[in-house]
């Protein structure tokens, strides 16, 4: 293995901190809104805070290699705690602050944490509950003492008192701190992050200094992130993305990290800070767009008219301008006027007016949603990543942004697709190992360093962009051997406002069929405007006009699926609209609203058979669970529709 000579001496986070404290001494490193005012700390002050805390931890007896858990919302103090732990050669382990006590106990026990740095009484209480079972845990360091006046303080330490204690013993501890700092290198563990673990227990992903710093270096260069940029840190600290954005990249480029006043004030704080670099999951952008639409519906006629005129133009022109494509003079002037009257103020209201680089990831984003933000002139891009990769696997380059891909490999990442379609990568950012779990490490990362993502995808021939189609375990084959990826089609269906949920079947069958759930709000609204009377979800779902509308949506999806060279076999041949909404109470969805495909297939096997045996209607009776736990049943005769399918058109490149 070659060492990272390219980075020179800047190969650990504490060394980056020392550089920033020197080069950017007077530049703001952290901001936090407290008591209604933005408080700020320069890099020089940040370094002092971190060093005193590191010495405080050493005064408590923290030894190299100890694990220190950190739990709280995004506050500068906890970002400092991470680097303070690293400075003392310990390993920081951020936890999800809304985790229940048992979940925390599992992680604290698994990593044999010596200390927990916790935000307030709420977190301290959870840890005290499980403390008796944790032999290695020697104490809790708390930031906010409210409500804990009467607590037994033998194992509780105040954050600021600890810093003071560190400073008091500086004469003795500084030498030891310097020694520890000098012994660290690129191989030293930088952070350990627990993956949420959709199956089984969470796994501790060990990331080294090299993982984090090489990733930060490459991606900062990719997007030209520099000391003048700023971010708002509002996503969970235990999530790898926050660690990369708010620590890795921030330390590498020296940019400023802003922390909101509380979780609820995030939107106001975003507006006040106006970050230049911003990340949010698709559902955040979706919620924001909905709130804009609702407010526009309440606006005056004149404003609505203006909004329509300029947004229509912006939708056409905005993305082209972002991609540097030619735009006519008239359209360009209209866009500029719209910028003054509509899009500029709107961007400002959303807190996105200064965003230079914006990313979204995590799930598929609807093209209309994506285009809305691009048309405002916000450079929103997609990336694909996971904890094991220190986030970045692929990302979209400026000027090559599309709604349906996740971009080209990030700097220093190699990609490979295996025969079954699963995506593998190898990069400087790929994790060292799963903590105390050699089997899982072996299953995920092979000796040559290739890491399995568990996602199926392919690389587009022309553009080289990666497209993720589904979880690898959900991908199958139709009887004729063509690839079957249900989520790919389901996502396309769900982008229509009328469709709330869809479940596509076809593995080992000769064609694809679908169950559809209509969105009661959207379709109900449409029914009201078109004078269609209905008394229940079931009645609306069975209405012939609703069927017609959904059929049109499905056919549009088929046209689009038909254009896909690999997945054109996934066109939907027949569909029905379910007589009830899929519900987590009935076990049809997970608590996070994800479709449980196999359970639905078992439960509605009569419907599934009818879809495949060619009948036009089917009678069914379904057991439902009401919210108070009572059970009942509903019966219905459902119509089944055949849908037109299409041949792949040859499109000239």
């Amino acid at each position: 293995m070659s060492n990272t000579t390219t980075v020179g001496a800047l190969d650990t986070l504490p060394r980056l901190l020392a550089r920033n404290a020197k080069d950017y001494a007077e530049k703001t490193a952290y901001r936090e809104k407290e008591y209604g005012i933005w408080q700020s700390w320069t890099w020089a002050e940040t370094a002092e805070e971190i060093n005193s805390l590191a010495m405080g931890l050493m005064a408590l007896g923290v030894k190299p290699g100890d694990h220190i858990a950190i739990v709280g919302r995004n506050r500068p103090y906890f970002y400092w705690a991470m680097v303070a732990a690293q400075s003392a050669s310990a390993v920081p382990v951020p936890l999800y602050k809304d985790a229940v006590a048992e979940e925390m106990a599992y992680v604290l026990d698994h990593c044999s944490a010596r200390y927990v740095i916790a935000e307030d009484q709420e977190q301290v209480d959870k840890i005290i509950d499980v403390m008796d079972d944790l032999e290695t845990l020697d104490g809790i360091i708390f930031l906010d003492p409210s409500g804990m006046r009467k607590y037994d303080k033998s194992k509780l330490f105040g954050y600021r008192e600890l810093q003071r204690k560190g400073l008091d013993q500086k004469a003795a501890l500084q030498i030891e701190l310097d020694k520890r700092l000098s012994e660290q290198g690129p191989e030293t563990t930088c952070v350990m992050l627990y993956t949420s673990g959709t199956t089984g227990r969470p796994k501790g992903v060990v990331l080294s200094n090299r993982n984090i710093i090489e990733t930060a270096k490459g991606t900062c260069e990719f997007d030209n992130l520099a000391a003048d940029d700023s971010v708002l840190a509002y996503l969970p600290m235990a999530w790898v993305g926050d660690f990369i954005f708010s620590i890795g990249q921030a330390y590498w480029s020296g940019f400023c990290v802003g922390c909101p006043e509380s979780q609820e004030t995030m939107q106001t704080d975003l507006n006040e800070i106006g970050p230049t670099y911003f990340f949010a999951p698709p559902r955040y952008f979706e919620g924001l767009l909905t709130s804009v639409q609702i407010r526009m519906e309440d606006a005056s006629r004149f404003k609505q008219w203006m909004f329509k005129i300029f947004m229509d133009n912006a939708k056409d022109v905005g993305p082209k301008l972002l991609d540097g494509k030619p735009v006519g003079l008239v359209a360009r002037l209209k866009y500029q006027l719209g910028k003054i009257l509509i899009t500029g103020p709107l961007k400002n209201t959303l807190g996105l007016s200064r965003v230079r680089v914006g990313y979204t990831a995590g799930e598929a984003i609807g093209p209309e949603l994506f285009d809305f933000y691009r048309s405002l002139g916000i450079n929103l891009k997609q990336l694909y990543g996971q904890t094991e990769a220190s986030v970045f696997i692929t990302q979209q380059r400026d000027g090559e942004v599309r709604a349906d891909t996740v971009g080209t490999p990030s700097p220093g990442v190699e990609l490979r697709i295996d025969d079954s379609g699963e995506v593998f990568y190898r990069s400087a950012g790929s994790f060292e190992r799963y903590y105390k779990n050699p089997e899982s490490t072996k299953d995920t990362k092979d000796p040559e360093g290739w890491v399995a993502t568990g996602d199926a995808g392919f690389i587009e021939k022309d553009s080289g962009h990666l497209r993720i189609i589904d979880r690898a375990k959900d991908v199958g084959k139709l009887k004729d051997g063509s690839m079957f990826a249900p989520k790919f089609v389901e996502n396309k269906l769900k982008f229509y406002a009328n469709v709330l949920e869809s479940v596509v079947f076809g593995n080992d069958r000769d064609m694809c069929v679908a169950f559809i759930n209509i969105d009661l709000t959207a379709v109900g609204n449409w029914a009201e405007r078109n004078n269609i009377a209905y008394s229940s979800y079931q009645e609306l779902a069975a209405h012939p006009k609703v069927y017609e509308m959904i059929q049109a949506n499905v056919e549009e999806v088929n046209t689009s699926v038909a254009q896909d060279e690999m997945l054109s076999g996934c066109q939907i041949h027949r569909f029905l609209i379910l007589h009830k909404e899929l519900d987590a109470d009935d076990g049809e969805l997970t608590r996070t609203q994800k479709v449980r495909r196999n359970i639905i297939a078992d439960k509605y096997d009569d419907l599934l058979n009818a879809l495949y045996d060619g009948s036009n209607t089917v009678f069914t009776e379904t057991e439902v669970t009401y919210e108070d736990g009572r059970k009942g049943s509903i019966s219905a005769t459902l119509e089944i529709r055949d849908v037109a399918t299409f041949e792949r058109k040859k499109v000239a490149a």
């Binding site: 209604g36 409210s146 409500g147 009467k150």
Partner: protein, 271 residues
């Protein structure tokens, strides 16, 4: 219990001497006797609850404590001195603040401005200097705003700082009202049914805030409450009233086992 100077609560706090003593209070409205010959005290640093069925005279009692009603008979002693009839603002200046059963906020004003009004008794600059925003007034407003911001932080209502109070849900309005009372930095805080109309979660939040106020600022708290469960959880001592009379006084456990109290709450079979 009234005879001793101090006592130690179940959770280990030492409660000091009496801040306020009610001595043989009788209050009449025309021919109606709302309070009949009631005596009790409120001690420094304790959470004192007054409970009783509807119409027992609890709110009248609270109004006597904060000087809004003047009893026909009996005496109110505050900090060892007999209190004479006073205007409400004079009471406020003595360090007594209260909240109301039916929220009494300025609906059109923001949360921040509402809580700011709680600082009124701490403002010394005159009208002219406030209007002209002169040095003194400016410094004073900054200092007051700081206190208000600490209250906002304490009650975790940063997100509604600029929201007009009329647009807030009920639970939040109650919290803002508590905030306004806290902004006055009272020695004695009177709460009139702080949990009325709240759901379980809101009640839990409010209980926590009341205990934290008591714990953190050492504020003495007297509260009226309907919800027996809440009272028994947070109060150090409880006075029970029924038909204007005191029928019980003591720790939650003592009161819970008092036969008169059980009868008043659950009813009693007539022979």
């Amino acid at each position: 219990m009234n005879a001793i100077d101090s006592y130690v609560t179940a959770d280990g706090r030492t409660i000091g001497a009496a801040v306020m003593e009610m001595k043989n209070i009788t209050l009449r409205f025309g021919g109606v006797t709302a309070i009949k010959d009631i005596s009790f005290d409120i001690r420094e640093g304790e959470v004192r609850a007054i409970i009783g069925p509807n119409g027992a005279g609890k709110s009248s009692m609270l109004n006597v404590i904060n000087g809004f009603y003047h009893p026909q008979e009996g005496e109110v002693w505050f900090h060892g001195k007999k209190r004479l009839a006073m205007k409400p603002h004079q009471i406020a200046k003595q360090g007594i603040a209260r909240t109301f059963q039916n929220i009494a906020l300025f609906k059109g004003m923001s949360t921040l401005d509402n809580i700011m009004t709680g600082r009124l008794t701490h403002m010394k600059t005159g009208l002219m200097s406030q209007m002209m925003w002169w040095g003194g007034a400016q410094a004073e407003e900054v200092a007051n705003r700081e206190v208000v911001e600490k209250v906002i932080d304490f009650l975790e209502i940063q997100a509604i700082r600029k929201t007009p109070v009329g647009r807030l849900p009920y639970g939040f309005q109650k919290r803002v009202e508590l905030g306004r009372a806290l902004a006055a930095e009272p020695k004695l805080l009177l709460l009139d049914e702080p949990m009325a109309g709240m759901n379980v979660e809101e009640k839990e939040d409010m209980s926590r805030f009341i205990l934290d106020v008591n714990d953190e600022f050492g504020t003495t708290i007297a509260l009226i409450e309907h919800d027996m469960g809440v009272v028994m959880d947070i109060a150090d001592r409880v006075v029970v009233m029924d038909y204007g009379k005191k029928i019980g006084d003591g720790t939650p456990d003592e009161v819970r086992n008092n036969q008169d109290v059980v009868d008043a709450y659950l009813g009693v079979a007539h022979d």
